[in-house]
């Protein structure tokens, strides 16, 4: 038996691609990924039309997708996150069919339950053997965890592993096993390492960011959740990383032994693991080189699948055991609904990722954001797009004060008792508009360019075309 084929083209032919099929990709190579572009260029050259691309995320490097959309090679798009380069075009209305946005938990759920059956999955693998046992931990394009790709491999009708590091059988430390893989293609380069992982992720030095991080850490300390067994997720933004650093110092000082850190993993969470703040890291994606090295070398740093991370239909998922999550926002409204899909002009530039999944699961969901960004208030009357519903968001931390969701009266009392500057979210909005002025309302078109599908399968909001 030989699974290794000469080219992506040969793999596509052998898989029996037909017009109208759904093909899938994962995004661990992030803005360094070459695989989506290589595969789509081949597919376009072979003359296929009317395909649905289901990708866990689309980054700016995937701008060539716009041409494939305009040429009707791609007529359906399903993602959890979309960068501004493609997002801007989608917002301007280049696609007939609306894009379907899901969350990192909703996507695997819909693949597993057959709502979005995958015909062919293309797995970008930094290392693979000739039978398709593959891993993200080794090779020149190492990305660490392959968490989002498991569901594709385990459920697609055909699975193609694309690697630039073909190793001797068996790759013993495999993530995805050969049992799922039909074909293996070895190419020169699956991606650009500088875009795959950051050399270093750095905490902010901006005093406003540090102040927000300090408030956020005090909110965690006052919440009653920071005790032995504590679990935590944070993003890779500069202020979120500062929270991880402050939290580490606090946990060491108070001798608190947490249970797990989760999410996109950065060096700061690795530091916390190595310092004994957590028993383990549950890793669906690595953000920097240190995280890649840690998941390779430290058995307590576990790779987990997207379903295990966040699926709403799994028998249980890690998000359901999460104490605290720190998240960002482009906008938050006075009902605590959060927008992470569009910018203040209504252009698509993001997506849920795990935002709404972790918000739903965590005991304390905290949005950390500066009150204003470039003359725009983060707090608005109504968000342009509801990505995460307000009833799953507990606290907004800004440099000008901390707003607590009125549903969390007990939490509000705790924060006030700790002397934190608690403020009504309407007052925060007024402070912001006192600085910026009152913005004119944005006018959007009437055509739906994207559906935001919440983790329970309901369409929580639609995104309209920009004018």
């Amino acid at each position: 038996m030989n699974k290794v084929v000469k080219s992506i083209k040969e793999a596509i032919t052998l898989c029996g691609l037909k017009d109208g099929m759904r093909i899938s990709f994962h995004h661990h190579l992030r803005n360094g990924d070459h695989v989506i572009n290589m595969v789509m260029e081949e597919i376009a050259n072979m003359g296929y039309k009317d395909l649905t691309v289901n990708a866990s995320s689309v980054f700016d490097i995937h701008a060539p997708l716009v041409t494939h959309i305009k040429n009707n090679v791609v007529t359906g798009l399903e993602v959890n996150y979309m960068g501004g380069a493609v997002g801007r075009e989608i917002s301007s209305g280049i696609m007939q069919k609306p894009v379907d946005f899901r969350s990192h938990g909703g996507r695997p759920s819909d693949i597993e339950t057959g709502r979005t059956p995958i015909d062919i999955a293309f797995i970008a693998a930094p290392s693979s053997d000739n039978m398709g046992n593959c891993s993200g931990k080794y090779g020149k394009s190492a990305c660490g965890s392959l968490g989002y790709a498991f569901v594709d491999a385990m459920n697609a009708k055909k699975v193609v592993v694309i690697t630039d590091n073909l190793v001797e059988y068996p790759l013993y430390d495999f993530s995805i096993s050969e049992t799922y893989v039909d074909y293996v293609v070895c190419v020169d380069k699956i991606g650009d390492p500088t875009g795959i992982v950051s050399g270093t992720t750095k905490i902010t030095r901006d005093p406003v960011g540090l102040m927000m991080a300090s408030y956020a850490t005090k909110v965690i300390q006052s919440s009653g959740l920071l005790k032995d067994g504590f679990s935590f997720q944070t993003g890779a933004g500069g202020a979120s990383l500062a929270v991880a650093k402050y939290l580490k110092d606090l946990m060491l000082k108070e001798n608190i032994k947490g249970s797990f850190g989760m999410g996109g993993i950065t060096s700061y969470l690795v530091d916390m693991l190595e310092a004994g703040c957590f028993e383990t890291l549950m890793d669906v994606q690595c953000f920097d080189l240190r995280a890649v090295q840690s998941i390779r070398d430290n058995p307590r740093h576990r790779e987990v699948t997207a379903s295990h991370y966040a699926s709403p239909t799994a028998k249980s998922a890690i998000v359901d055991n999460l104490d605290v999550v720190i998240l960002g926002a482009t906008q938050i409204d006075t009902d605590f609904n959060v927008n992470v899909h569009t910018d203040s002009n209504g252009f698509i530039m993001g997506g849920s990722g795990g935002h709404s999944d972790t918000a739903a699961g965590a005991k304390l969901t905290m949005i950390v954001a500066p009150l204003t960004r470039a003359r725009l208030s983060i707090v608005v009357d109504k968000v342009l797009c509801v990505s995460t519903p307000g009833n799953t968001v507990d606290v907004l931390v800004t440099q000008r004060g901390i707003a607590v969701n009125p549903k969390r009266g007990e939490l509000k009392e705790r924060l006030q008792a700790s002397g934190l500057p608690v403020i009504d979210i309407h007052d925060l909005k007024n402070i912001a508009e006192g600085i910026t002025g009152v913005p004119k309302e944005i006018k959007l078109g009437s055509r739906t360019v994207a559906n935001v599908i919440y983790r329970d399968g309901t369409i929580i909001d639609t995104i309209k075309n920009t004018l």
């Binding site: 203040s344 470039a374 725009l376 004119k440």
Partner: protein
């Protein structure tokens, strides 16, 4: 105030505004781009006209590239550019 030469103030950093003024023969010519044009375009134009009027500038070509500056910053940048443009020499 008479605009005697070309002068600039400000930067293209987020939350700042870059302003360039130069002599003009007949009247006021405003060229504004802003990342918050949809939200604050009219406000910014009004601010520009107010500052020009405060300094009694009748003839000027003024170009503004706004990166989301608040009103006081816009006023300060315009005033600085005007005062630089009023001085002769380099």
């Amino acid at each position: 105030m008479e605009i005697k030469k070309k002068a600039t103030a400000g930067t293209l950093e987020s939350s700042d505004i870059f302003v360039q003024v130069e002599p003009n023969d007949n009247g006021i010519e405003i060229n504004l781009t802003s990342i918050v044009y949809n939200q604050f375009g009219e406000d910014i134009e009004r601010t520009v006209k107010e500052v020009l009027s405060e300094f009694d500038v009748k003839n000027v070509k003024i170009q503004l590239k706004d990166r989301g500056a608040v009103e006081c910053a816009i006023r300060a940048r315009i005033e600085t550019a005007l005062k630089r443009a009023e001085r002769m020499g380099n």
